[in-house]
Every structure is written in structure tokens, then in C-alpha cells.
């Protein structure tokens, strides 16, 4: 799948929303390759705790990141309801573990607000804005920026 929009600018389009604990997040649906259930991973030695390990996705070795651990949200439980969103970022494939996938929503710039400037675990650099849909607040994440960032430790070159 080709990445259509990598500008990082809040643009109207379709977003996939998922929950982490009680919070709802949205990511560009064009970055999503597939959604699948959680399966046993192979641990990677000496990796940060939020990197669960790698799985075999039809012959491709794909690292799995648990965003709940990364963001300190919700209980990192793994059962048949745990969902992994497989993302296609650049030429890489990465899986993220979330509590649940809720919806695909349309958002345009009207109901997208800039994120407030205060410190949080999730650096505002990676937040595109806050969206409102039916009184729910959805945190729009620039997933590509986040996944290739140094703190995710997923990409070699970004660490340099």
C-alpha cells in the first residue's frame, strides 16, 4: 500500500479510531494495512518493554508495539479481544497493540482543534489535533511521526 498523505498536516479524511484505556485515538486510515487479533510474539532481547517482540505475518517479520505500555494507559492484558493494528509506514510494517478498534470516522478541519500545549507522555509533536465526534474527544495522532521517532526505538536511522 502506498502512503498517500505523509505531510503530517491535519487534513480532512478518514481516520481509524481506537481506544487505549478510556481515551480514544485516531490515525490516518491510509496507513492501516490490516487489523488482526493478538498472537504470541517472539521477544526481542534487551528491547524496551513496550516493544513486545516480533510476529510472523505471512512470512514477514513484523515488530509489535504495545501503545498501552508506551502511553501508560489501560491494563496491558492479552486475550482474544486484544487487537493489533498492522500499519504500513514508509516501507516498513509495524503492528501496534490497542485495547480496541472502534470506528472509521470522517473529520475535516472544522471539527479538528489544535492540541493544547502541555507536557504529556505523548509529545505534542505527534498530535495532529483534537477532533470532536458526537461529544467524544478523539486524539489525532501522526502515527508515522510517532513510529519513526527516536523514542519508539523502532528505526535504526532515526536513533542517530
Amino acid at each position: 500500500m502506498d502512503i498517500v498523505d505523509s505531510s503530517g498536516v491535519p487534513a480532512s479524511g478518514e481516520y481509524l479510531t481506537f481506544t487505549l484505556g478510556k481515551e480514544e485515538y485516531g490515525i490516518d486510515i491510509l496507513k492501516v494495512q490490516e487489523i488482526r487479533g493478538y498472537e504470541a510474539v517472539t521477544r526481542i532481547a534487551n528491547a524496551p518493554p513496550f516493544i513486545k517482540g516480533v510476529i510472523n505475518l505471512r512470512g514477514v517479520i513484523v515488530p509489535i508495539v504495545d501503545l498501552r505500555i508506551k502511553f501508560n494507559l489501560g491494563e496491558p492484558t492479552y486475550d482474544q479481544f486484544t487487537v493489533v493494528i498492522i500499519l504500513n509506514i514508509g516501507k516498513r510494517v509495524v503492528g501496534v497493540v490497542v485495547d480496541g478498534v472502534s470506528d472509521v470516522i470522517q473529520l475535516n478541519s472544522d471539527n479538528l482543534h489544535p492540541p493544547p500545549e502541555f507536557g504529556s507522555i505523548l509529545d505534542t509533536r505527534y498530535i495532529l489535533g483534537l477532533g470532536t465526534v458526537d461529544e467524544r474527544m478523539i486524539i489525532m495522532v501522526d502515527i508515522e511521526q510517532l513510529m519513526t521517532s527516536q523514542e519508539m526505538a523502532l528505526v535504526e536511522s532515526a536513533a542517530a
Partner: protein
């Protein structure tokens, strides 16, 4: 219509490289004393194919060189000249020049023009030293032909002529290369096409273009000089019809008495072979445009009104030599006078039709049939022989059943099959839980599936396998050149060149092997005087050998030279401050020469002696998962043994379990595995553990410590795998041994990043991912861990 030729460039590059390699190979194997005609023909064919290809794609510089090369080769294979050693040298040098030119066209640096000129001059001189008459035939093609007029007459096939758009395309295409003055536009009723073209392009270009529309042999291209072809104007239709008819139906339409008709005079004399020649010319198209004697290679002498008909004829003949089919026709005509000879060779305006036409055909016995008699004009011979060669090439291509596939596609196939194998293994595992009585058929099917997938995997893997001859074939040249430079006599032998190796390995093994061969020549094999003094054959032998041993490919480089000088190596090692002593085993001493910067050569030559090399060789080979060993005995020679895995994509591994995870230890690094006893483990400085195995103390590294896994603590319940990495042996402690597998190596970096201690990952039979250990890194990590603990 114009076709973008650049899309075919890659194919041309590949084919030309192959032809060059093939040519070089043949040249090196050529026996100068009594060259086999077969080989000479094969070399000629290779040169000719390069020429044809480069001409088609407009790489005129290459065409120029091959043209000269071909001229000499042709005389050789016709036994007009005898092969001499300097000719072989010149051919090899020409091959190098061509390779440089090819690289230039592929975007490499400019080919050295001086070298090109030099080699052309050398070849021409070699060819003409005994036969000055061949000068014209071998003159290089001028880069830019002067603009001239062509008269084009042909009959388009009905289907082309009937399509207005096709005709438009044709004229548009012509307009791109020439100024077109349409005399008769073809239509459905009358397919005749007549036009005057003014262009600086070669005739071959026009023919190429027209070749897309009609049979090449139907194309009539001439210079419409009034004096030369006055009769064309007098009866234009007749010319087209007549000339055409000449090919199709050799009726005696032209009058033999009329000198103005030039070579057509002979048509009635040659009725029989004509249709046959036309038939034979099928597929000869690409070739003829390059036939020597074509207009570009003639001195661009425009026809003067005062020229005698013969001279014009000669020019005209030169044109006609180009005509695909036309050529075969004319010089095959029995009893055909040697028409082109006088004008082409001497080109005087004084030549008269009488004597030239009377010149009898020479060398009749050399030809298989009266219809294929040769004239003694070399340029015609080349052209004709060239056509015959082309016939052969066509046959050869027909018999050649291989296809070119990009490595990417093959790798994709290998990946897919790898997944299939995994899926099959998963199925088999699930099915093993079924009741064998109830699910008998299913289980039988799964059995069959597993057999089929295994076969499939093997065949797919074999696609990537290439014979070692791909590597070995380049060495005769290296050895020849180097031996000449060093003043040594060396004979090279290769054994087992059919041993197959993965393409990736083939590419990477070439450099280390070249280095070893150069080393053997420079340091190993002695000068002839020394060899005679030592009672050996003055001619040294260098042997390259490849063979399969178990799951590995073993490549050996052997020489019968002086062997390694133990005392000298030790002395040098001491000078360099390496820890050595006289009691070291030979094996350890030989390993010293793999140290960076180590050289025992007194003089640094451009061949070797700088001391960069053996360490690089060792590193490269270890990087491929292989090993290098040296054996040497003074006075008898040296043997370097390289062991390589069969492929880079598959690895033989031992799977071990630690804390519930599976790891793969590359089997090449495993020395042994054993169950440790508690009293084998000694501690050093309180915490660093050593293991005592048969007199050796090895660092004891628990994999669970290195990777922070909850492993077995009780040493007696686990197992120790003794591994050997770059930095020596170590005892790695694991929970259990799971088995031995062939695993497909998958990259971790593709989606993640490099993990310390891991060289990659693989997918096991149950679909889970297992990490492949990088043994050297694991040892380093383990030792660093121990140090940290000591420091803490």
C-alpha cells in the same frame, strides 16, 4: 513510428558482457600452434554478435572496434593468416577495450580513446601485415556519414499499404531520420512506395525503419545519381518491378549487353541460386547492415559524372552488399564476375566494366556448393560469411532454452515457497493431533503435500544456484596476464567448476578468490629458474577446485610453489609486535598472515605485498558465513581452503531453547555440545565463570543472562554448546537442545532494526519467529556482561 530502443539496452549490455566473457574464455583456451577452426568461428561469432548488437543500438564506437577485430578474425578462420601469440594478445586487449566501452555506455567512465585507437591500429596492422587488400574492409566506420540522397523503392505488403495510418506512420518515421520527397504514395490498390530521401543517417537506419513494415529483402535503396542510374529515370517502374522481380523470379529481364545495368547484367546468369539465397537470408537482417563494404565503410567518394560505369557499379554494389538477401544472392551466383572488387579495392575512376566483369571467381573449392562460391574479395567474404554465421546464431538461439529472469522475481518465488513450507508444517502439526484412523486420507494427503513442498523448495532454491565456472572462468585471464608480468610460467587447472553455489555467494567470493590467486602467483609460484634449481617443472601449476562437502561448498586454491616460510612469518610477526613464539603450531603460524597489514614480501609490487589482503579475504569469507584455512609445506606449495555455506538464504542451524524462547545457533559455529558437570565450571575473580573442557578454559556464557530471559539456573539441568566465533571459543549455556533445522534467513532490519546478538530471524515450523544468534556478538555481549558484574 519510432521505437524506444533504450528499453532493450539492458539486454544488450548483458548479452554483450556474456559474449565478451565467452570470447575471452575461448581466446585463452586457444592453442596458438594449431587453433581449432571451431574455436575461431566461435570467437568470430561472439565478436560479430557484439558488432550487430552495438550497431543496432547505435553504439558506433563499439561497432568500430568489433569491426576491425572481426576483420582479422575472419582472415584467421579462413586460414588466410596464421594465428600468432601477439594476435591473441591483441584480441584480449580489444576485449578489454570493448568492455570499457560497454561500461561507458552503462554510465561508467569514458573509455580511453587512445587505447581504442591503439588497438584498432594494432589489429589493422596485424590483419594487413600480410594482406594490404583488406584495408578497406577493415577501415573503422566514420562517425558521421555525409548527407546523401537515397532513392527508395519498395512494395509494401497489402495489409500495410491498405492502412492509411500505417503508411502515415511509416512516412512520419522516415521524416524523423531523413527529408522525404514522396514520389509514389502506397495505397490499397498499389502498394508501391517510391521516395527520395536526403539524410546523413546510415543506410542501415533506413532499412531498420522499413524493416518493421516489410521484408528487408524487398527494400531497394540506391543513390539516384543520374549518370549512374540513368535508366531508373527512363523507366522508373521497370526498375522497381525488375529489381524486385530479380529476387522473386530470376527471369532474364535485364540485357547483358547494356553496360549501364551494372550488376544486373549477371542476373540471367544466376537464375538458380537466387530463390534459395533469398530464403536463406531470412533472419539475416540485423547482420547485413553491418556488412563490411557498406557505404559508411567505403570512402565517401561521391560518384562523379566522369566515373566509369564500373566505378559507379562498385559503389552501387557496395550499397547492394547491404541489401539483406541481396548479398547472398549476388555473391552466390555461380560464375558471377567479381563485380565489386575493382572499385572497392582500388576505387579508381579508370576501372572499366570489361576487365572487372571478366575477373573469374576464386577459391571455388573452399565452398560447399557451386552456388556458394567465394569471390576473392575479402569484404564480400566477410559479409557473406557473416550471414552464414547469423544463420547459425539463429539456430543456436532456437536451441537455447534458457530465459532471463530478474533475481528479484526468483527471490520472491523463494519467499513464497518458504511460506508454503511453513504453512505445510503448521498443517502437519495440526493434523498430527487427529485420529489416524478417522483422518487417514487427510494424513496421507498431508504426507504427500510435505513431500511435494520439499521438492518444490529444492527446485526453487536451485534456480539461484550458479556453477562455480562463473567465477573460475575469469581466472585464466588473470593468471595469464599476471604470469606474463611476473615472468613466471604458470599453468592453471580448474576442477569441479560445475559445483553449484548461490548467486549471492558467487558474486561475493570472486574478490577474495582473485586475491588468493594473485597471492599464489606472486608469492607462491617461483620463477622458472628457481623452480628448475629446486628440481621442479619450470612451469608452475595453480589449481582451483570446488566441491561439495556435506552442506558446504569447499573451494581450494592450490599452488605447487615454495610454500609459506614459517621462520619468515614468525620474524615478521615479532617485528610487528605480535605475540608469537617458536613453539607455535604450523596452523597458528599460518593464521598470522591473516592479521591486518601483514606481509612478508620484501618489495611492494603492484601485484601484492602491501599487506592488505589476507585479512580482507578472511573477513569477507567470514562475512559470508564461511571459513578459511591454510595448509602449506615448504618446497611443495600452499593450499588455501575456503568453506562456504551453500546459500545465503538458508542456514543450517541448531535450535536451542532458553526461557521458553527458541534461538538458532548457526551450525558452522558449533564445535560441540555437551552436558556440563558442576565441577567443570570454575569461577575467576569470584564471578566470571569459566568452563574446563578437555584442558581448555572457555568463558562460560549463559544465554539467559545475555538476553535477560528466565532460564534454567541449575547448571546440571541445562546444556552447553561450545561455539567458535571470531574471537575464539566460548561455552554457551542453554536450557535445552531442540533440534537441527535448515532455516530460511529473514531480515530483522526490514521492519525493525538490528538487534545486538542476533544476525537475523527465521520462521519455525509452527509459524513462530525464532532469532538467529550472531555468535561472535553473543560472546562479546557475554564477556561484557561479566566485566560489568565484576566492576559493579
Amino acid at each position: 513510428m519510432s521505437i524506444d530502443m533504450s528499453q532493450f539496452y539492458q539486454v544488450f549490455f548483458e548479452e554483450t558482457s556474456e559474449h565478451l566473457a565467452n570470447m575471452e574464455n575461448l581466446l585463452l583456451n586457444l592453442d596458438v600452434e594449431s587453433p581449432s577452426l571451431e574455436d575461431l568461428n566461435a570467437i568470430f561469432r561472439a565478436a560479430h554478435s557484439i558488432k550487430g548488437g552495438s550497431g543496432t543500438f547505435g553504439f558506433t564506437d563499439m561497432t568500430g572496434v568489433t569491426h576491425v577485430l572481426e576483420g582479422l578474425l575472419d582472415r584467421l578462420r579462413k586460414e588466410e593468416l596464421t594465428l600468432r601469440a601477439e594476435m591473441v594478445d591483441a584480441f584480449l586487449a580489444a576485449g578489454d577495450v570493448l568492455r570499457a566501452q560497454l561500461e561507458h555506455h552503462q554510465g561508467g567512465p569514458d573509455a580511453d580513446q587512445a587505447a581504442i585507437d591503439e588497438i584498432c591500429a594494432r589489429l589493422t596492422q596485424l590483419a594487413t601485415g600480410e594482406a594490404p587488400a583488406a584495408i578497406h574492409a577493415e577501415a573503422p566506420v566514420p562517425a558521421e556519414a555525409p548527407s546523401r540522397q537515397w532513392r527508395l523503392a519498395c512494395v509494401l505488403p497489402a495489409d500495410v499499404a491498405a492502412s492509411a495510418s500505417a503508411v502515415d506512420n511509416l512516412f512520419a518515421g522516415l521524416a524523423e531520420i531523413a527529408a522525404v520527397d514522396i514520389r509514389h504514395r502506397p495505397d490499397a490498390a498499389d502498394g508501391r512506395l517510391e521516395a527520395l530521401l536526403t539524410t546523413s543517417r546510415a543506410e542501415g537506419d533506413i532499412r531498420d525503419l522499413l524493416g518493421f513494415y516489410l521484408n528487408p529483402e524487398d527494400i531497394q535503396l540506391r543513390e539516384p545519381e543520374e549518370t549512374a542510374y540513368g535508366f531508373f529515370d527512363a523507366e522508373p517502374a521497370a526498375v522497381a518491378e525488375e529489381a524486385y522481380g530479380f529476387f522473386e523470379d530470376p527471369a532474364p529481364t535485364a540485357s547483358a549487353a547494356d553496360p549501364g545495368y551494372g550488376f544486373f547484367d549477371d542476373a540471367p546468369v544466376a537464375p538458380e541460386p537466387a530463390p534459395a539465397a533469398v530464403e536463406e537470408a531470412d533472419g539475416g537482417f540485423g547482420l547485413f547492415e553491418d556488412a563490411p563494404g557498406k557505404p559508411e565503410s567505403l570512402p565517401d567518394r561521391s560518384i562523379q559524372p566522369g566515373d566509369s560505369p564500373a566505378a559507379i557499379e562498385g559503389q552501387g554494389y557496395g550499397l547492394f552488399v547491404n541489401a539483406p538477401g541481396g548479398l547472398g544472392l549476388f555473391d552466390n551466383a555461380p560464375g558471377m564476375p567479381d563485380l565489386g572488387r575493382a572499385p572497392i579495392e582500388t576505387a579508381p575512376a579508370t576501372a572499366s566494366p570489361g576487365p572487372t566483369a571478366a575477373t573469374p571467381t576464386a577459391q571455388p573449392a573452399a565452398q560447399p556448393s557451386p552456388g556458394r562460391r567465394l569471390t576473392d574479395n575479402p569484404s564480400i567474404e566477410v559479409a557473406k560469411a557473416g550471414r552464414r554465421e547469423n544463420d547459425k546464431t539463429v539456430i543456436a538461439t532456437g536451441a537455447d532454452t534458457s530465459i532471463r529472469v530478474s533475481v528479484e522475481k526468483v527471490d520472491q518465488l523463494i519467499n513464497l515457497v518458504g511460506e508454503l513450507v511453513i504453512t505445510q508444517a503448521m498443517l502437519a502439526e495440526t493434523a498430527s493431533n487427529l485420529d489416524p484412523v478417522q483422518a487417514e486420507k487427510l494424513l496421507a494427503g498431508i504426507d504427500l503435500l510435505s513431500r511435494n513442498t520439499r521438492d518444490l523448495q529444492e527446485s526453487v532454491m536451485s534456480i539461484r544456484m550458479l556453477p562455480m565456472s562463473m567465477v573460475f572462468s575469469r581466472f585464466p585471464r588473470v593468471v595469464r596476464d599476471l604470469a606474463g608480468k611476473l615472468g613466471k610460467q604458470v599453468e592453471m587447472k580448474t576442477i569441479g567448476e560445475n559445483t553449484e553455489l548461490d548467486k549471492g555467494l558467487i558474486e561475493k567470493i570472486t574478490d577474495p578468490l582473485t586475491h588468493l590467486v594473485r597471492n599464489s602467483l606472486d608469492h607462491g609460484i617461483e620463477t622458472p629458474e628457481k623452480r628448475v634449481a629446486a628440481g621442479k617443472n619450470p612451469k608452475g601449476t595453480l589449481t582451483l577446485k570446488a566441491s561439495h562437502q556435506g552442506g558446504a561448498v569447499v573451494i581450494e586454491v592450490m599452488d605447487d610453489g615454495g610454500g609459506l616460510n614459517r621462520a619468515r612469518i614468525l620474524e615478521k610477526a615479532r617485528e610487528r609486535g605480535l605475540p608469537v613464539n617458536d613453539a607455535m603450531s604450523d596452523h597458528d603460524v599460518w593464521q598470522l598472515i591473516f592479521a591486518p597489514g601483514f606481509s612478508t614480501a620484501d618489495v611492494v609490487t603492484d601485484v601484492s605485498g602491501r599487506g592488505v589482503g589476507m585479512d580482507v579475504v578472511k573477513r569477507n569469507i567470514e562475512g559470508l558465513g564461511g571459513k578459511v584455512e591454510l595448509e602449506s609445506s615448504p618446497g611443495f606449495g600452499t593450499r588455501t581452503v575456503i568453506r562456504l555455506p551453500l546459500t545465503l538464504a538458508i542456514l543450517d542451524g541448531m535450535s536451542v531453547g532458553v526461557g521458553g524462547e527458541t534461538f538458532i545457533v548457526p551450525i558452522t559455529t558449533v564445535v560441540e555440545s555437551l552436558q556440563p558437570r558442576l565441577d567443570d565450571i570454575r569461577t575467576m575473580a569470584g564471578d566470571s565463570r569459566m568452563m574446563h573442557i578437555r584442558g581448555e578454559y572457555l568463558p562460560f556464557i549463559a544465554l539467559s543472562d545475555v538476553f535477560g530471559l528466565p532460564g534454567v539456573e541449575d547448571i546440571t539441568r541445562g546444556l552447553v554448546v561450545v561455539v567458535e566465533g571470531e574471537e575464539g571459543k566460548a561455552a554457551i549455556f542453554v536450557d535445552e537442545l531442540l533440534g537441527q533445522h535448515q532455516v530460511v534467513i529473514k531480515s530483522l532490519e526490514a521492519n525493525y532494526r538490528k538487534v545486538p546478538g542476533m544476525s537475523g530471524a527465521t520462521i519455525m515450523g509452527d509459524g513462530r519467529v525464532a532469532m538467529i544468534l550472531d555468535v561472535a556478538a553473543v560472546i562479546r555481549l557475554g564477556l561484557a556482561n561479566a566485566k560489568r558484574r565484576v566492576a559493579a
